[in-house]
Symmetry: C2
Subunit: 568 residues, 2 copies
Amino acid sequence: MNDRIPQEAQLAQSIALSREPLPASRKTHVAGSLHPELRVPMRAISLTNGETVTVYDASGPYTDPAAQIDVRRGLPAPRAAWVEARQDTEAYEGRRIQLIDDGLRDQEQQLKLRELSAGLQRTPRRAKAGHNVTQLHYARRGIITPEMEFVAIRENQRLDWMREYEADAEREARLRGKPMGAHIPAQITPEFVREEVARGRAIIPANINHPELEPMAIGRNFLVKVNANIGNSAVTSSIEEEVEKMVWATRWGADTVMDLSTGRNIHTTRDWIIRNSAVPIGTVPIYQALEKVGGVAEDLTWALFRDTLIEQAEQGVDYFTIHAGLRLPFVPLTVKRRTGIVSRGGSILAKWCIAHHQENFLYTHFEEICEIMKAYDVSFSLGDGLRPGSLADANDEAQFAELRTLGELTKIAWKHDVQTMIEGPGHVPMHLIQANMDEQLKHCDEAPFYTLGPLTTDIAPGYDHITSGIGAAMIGWSGCAMLCYVTPKEHLGLPDRDDVKAGLMAYKIAAHAADVAKGHPGARARDDALSKARFEFRWTDQFNLGLDPETAREFHDETLPKDSAKVA
Amino acid sequence: MNDRIPQEAQLAQSIALSREPLPASRKTHVAGSLHPELRVPMRAISLTNGETVTVYDASGPYTDPAAQIDVRRGLPAPRAAWVEARQDTEAYEGRRIQLIDDGLRDQEQQLKLRELSAGLQRTPRRAKAGHNVTQLHYARRGIITPEMEFVAIRENQRLDWMREYEADAEREARLRGKPMGAHIPAQITPEFVREEVARGRAIIPANINHPELEPMAIGRNFLVKVNANIGNSAVTSSIEEEVEKMVWATRWGADTVMDLSTGRNIHTTRDWIIRNSAVPIGTVPIYQALEKVGGVAEDLTWALFRDTLIEQAEQGVDYFTIHAGLRLPFVPLTVKRRTGIVSRGGSILAKWCIAHHQENFLYTHFEEICEIMKAYDVSFSLGDGLRPGSLADANDEAQFAELRTLGELTKIAWKHDVQTMIEGPGHVPMHLIQANMDEQLKHCDEAPFYTLGPLTTDIAPGYDHITSGIGAAMIGWSGCAMLCYVTPKEHLGLPDRDDVKAGLMAYKIAAHAADVAKGHPGARARDDALSKARFEFRWTDQFNLGLDPETAREFHDETLPKDSAKVA
């Protein structure tokens, strides 16, 4: 099934399914001041009382009926001009694609695949010799890039409509957030974004080879972000399904998407996903490297891994999960665990370390990896290969030893001006969540934290979007910058479209609840607008202001008394 | 539709649907020591490796294939003997049923309804003159009732099987709970239950006219409990649907059920629900009182309300929501709110207060209500009629003024030895949740807190089981004793069977996550048993140890690699 070569018609058709704007919504664009050419997208929701509520919009051009989209050619690339204008990059021929990149054995299959993605090929760019093209590098030199201004405008979600909802002084004082160490200004300025990036406290994942990107920031002083994992597997799904899943995920608010494909067609799937994605794309390069050695972890080499990094950097991947903190001496710490090593990347590298009885080659070659990252501005997502796979293993020495190492690596990455975030757990009972955040802040010096949940109990397979949504909301409030979603299929199977949406809903709730608790300026205005609509029985507005207007409308029926509770 | 007289055959058939035991589970019973006649039910889950995991079981006789159940006659009544043995109650003729109790206009309809529930009629009992039959009264006199021992055995869920999962000293120390002021002993003894009840820190809702009850406790030093609301409305649903919903709710773990029926057939619906329920049943008597005055709040009188209390107490309702804390002077405090008064009971009483410009008659007659409560051992659930209906209104003066009044009323109820818990919000952002718990503990002197969620954001209609599951888990950890579930239909419509289950799943997760965080002894053992099964690829055991084996099994498919992440 995975050998199947996708049909162009199918691809185009399936993606067309998710192109409708959300109800009563239209795409608006805000221009920049420093960079007037910016067109920062937002979603304007028209209410029946004449008000307009503007919200953050991760859905890309897909929800803009005016946008011409041809998935066979990829999205428009407004960022190309920004990159070009900096004059510190060069186009070059790039690595030649190999059969093994797609897990293929014969040239003919490859030709077919290549033909199908012919319109998606781009000449790669890299930093000119002696240059560093990361947003961190620019920020430290005092440069406010278009990416930074884009982020600043985007984070404000237009402040003007919110004023009505923030006018009551008593209410504002009563509901003032508890920032838990965050420092969020009333208005996000481009200079603030620059400072946060320069400090390493925020990243803007933005590979120079991903010019289709609408830049976004991940950092504790910004809106809490959500990542959705997609990706085909050796067993099921296809390129078109994954492209559609990416579009679908961003429609429901995914701020970044990780392509965790395994099996065949990995390279080509990524071509399709990146060229058609307006959100940053992350990958775990060790997955593809493992495919290239036929799934035998012991056969992995630095040379092959390095080549895979370059392959993916040239395609435009915005951040790489790199499990460089899983050191050989930490592996024995997992022996007494209830659930050993559950991270896929972690288990691959642990196998390699044990087989060779050598230090993890990602650790020993870390500075060389930094050299690649800064030539393309790929951000690190330092992976937690030893994250706990059960409550029983939470906050143990294996986990925290790795976290401390990730702190060391952060400093090395920063020495190279490479943008860096840190991955976190996993499975953690509520009372141990804060310690995760505290340790991360301490050892990683406020580099953005990016956690998977955490799941607060293990007893609800089939509902882990909820067990983990609880933990995600709590750690988001405590300062976690991005939450990797968990779908209802976690531990049980691969998520389909419905699962992707269910996971995103739980995580958009968690992220927003965290923003409100932290006191992100204006985060509560949407709650207020919806509550006002609810109190005034403006049902349509209540639906349309919600995270999922369609489901709300569908659930609404005539069983509620019309004159229900409403006094004073 | 609500006039429809249910068919016996239908009733019996629909209830038969939910009588299967959960997979690999069988009902076991533990006898008492002080009271050897006790048969405390538990669910024993058989694992494929020969282990047996025993868990708390709220599902009543329905999941016991050996139980003979005839819903037309009601469940067996083991508690009748315990009540009788105390010799402080008397059978009496009881109040005569009236047409208005079921909202009927002609005698013939009533005769049909009565005929249908003929097998469910019982002679009511009440305290003999000069006696007080509450569990609180016994507890204060040093008496360990069968109800108390039942609770003690039940809360331990058998400790023996847990030992394997608690054997690792390092793990136990690392995962030790953070009790936030709770004091939970390693083993719950009958004497501990008595002390907690005597202190007012726990209640055992157990009307002497509900002999079918399997007693349970609500208190911060016990397992966190979950309530499910059901009830027909003026618009939809029928008696048989509601009985089935009650059975269905307890199957999925509801520890108590509130019958919030409005419209017609209220009295008869309650006959069916109570006589067939092994969990405590709560009601909001003002709902029925309002039906009796044709929905005109202004026409409510103390005499009519008092008569309704007796009607319901004789039927066996275990706890009453009484909105006695909503005082006339508090109503103006809601004027500036975003969402006014959203509690149905609250809005009814506010209307009455405003119309008459008089103090709330529940407040002025509170001691008379206490007299009724102690004659039947109905527990107070002091209602929060001014709970916030939006984040904007959270923790405002209206809410907290009422809460302080509930504290005063608690002391009055305790003076009468009436068991009392306190209802709480509602809609509260995460950072304001702790203050709710703190204020409640302070003013209500550790009387059990019973909250609705709280919802941590207003922006997700259709997903409020999740927005509120987050808040419920957090407040449960902080000491909230019972969590009233919220279903996905909240704000949109009345829950159907699927919604009831979805709400319960979210809330069983929240309650369990809270138990683990508080460090309830043994709570984590089930997580460990499931994680171990997961690590050992015992799929069947993983499903069966979960909260919803059916969904987990259904979600499982062959897409997960068999040799997935597992090292060390």
